[in-house]
Symmetry: C2
Subunit: 169 residues, 2 copies
């Protein structure tokens, strides 16, 4: 399986899904007459990232995956978002970045040496990075963001998490 | 990337990680002097699966992924677990099942037509199934189980979620 096919289209879909979760939360807040930005610092445990940081980490993981597997630069985002609309802008920026990639960019990506910031002089292959670090970590933050919203009463279901899945006939 | 490499070893690792989360919860309950099985029905939202069902779904997704991609039968598990030690036995059963697979079993898996129970006469390819349904769904239940435990004070961190990652030198 080509690492482009395994990553970029699915990351794009999940980012669009996450944007829709934020829209659903905004509608929920309007209906309940509270400021949706009260959810920015909602968290499931006091020593866990809040919603804002979960969305930021989800965005970062998506851009890191594409950038690291292809050896391309990624845009910097300083984690200054203080409101839902700014989180949505952050998501849109990463969507735009991911949309610049083509399958050919991922030639040889599976064998590329990936060095994460905390690995010092160690490395893993691109294949290992995708299977054992990148996707688990991306979904960790995506699911936690979704769970924080569900825990706070936002009406979301599994279909909102997954988005549309392929159906051929 | 071979679909075996992308799935079986990582699913096995995540199942072992989940078993360790249950052990950590048991130790936490002993220290706090409560029955760990009080956590079986803990959930993050009233209309979301509780911990027991999250672990069962994580186990089911793992066996479905290997079984569907290879066309092999999977063992039936009737979701009757009523205590933590039974959830651990369920995890161990799926670990044993996954350990029977070899990379050769996955020859042609990416092009295999996968029909999920709710798809009627539609289908997706094995590659699409892994990228857009199987892994997102597996991690959905894994992260939610982890989040329920974190929300209830069990001392876990990202490293417990990911487990060991490859480090070559």
């Amino acid at each position: 399986m080509n690492l482009y096919d395994l990553t970029v289209p699915q990351l794009l879909k999940m980012l669009h899904n996450a944007d829709a979760w934020l829209v659903a939360a905004t509608k929920h807040a309007e209906a309940k007459k509270f400021d949706v930005n009260h959810l920015m610092k909602a968290r499931l445990a006091p020593d866990q990232f809040a919603l804002d940081r979960q969305i930021q980490a989800m965005c970062d993981n998506a851009k890191f995956i594409a950038g690291r597997l292809t050896g391309k630069e990624w845009p910097a985002h300083p984690d200054t978002e203080a409101a839902f609309d700014q989180l949505r802008t952050r998501i849109a920026a990463v969507v735009s970045y991911l949309e610049t990639f083509k399958p050919d960019d991922f030639a040889g990506a599976g064998d590329r040496k990936i060095v994460l910031p905390w690995m010092q002089d160690k490395w893993m292959t691109g294949d290992e990075y995708v299977a054992e670090f990148a996707l688990p970590n991306f979904y960790f933050h995506a699911v936690t963001a979704y769970a924080i919203l569900r825990h706070n009463g936002v009406e979301l279901g599994k279909r909102d998490f997954l988005g549309n899945v392929p159906m051929h006939s």
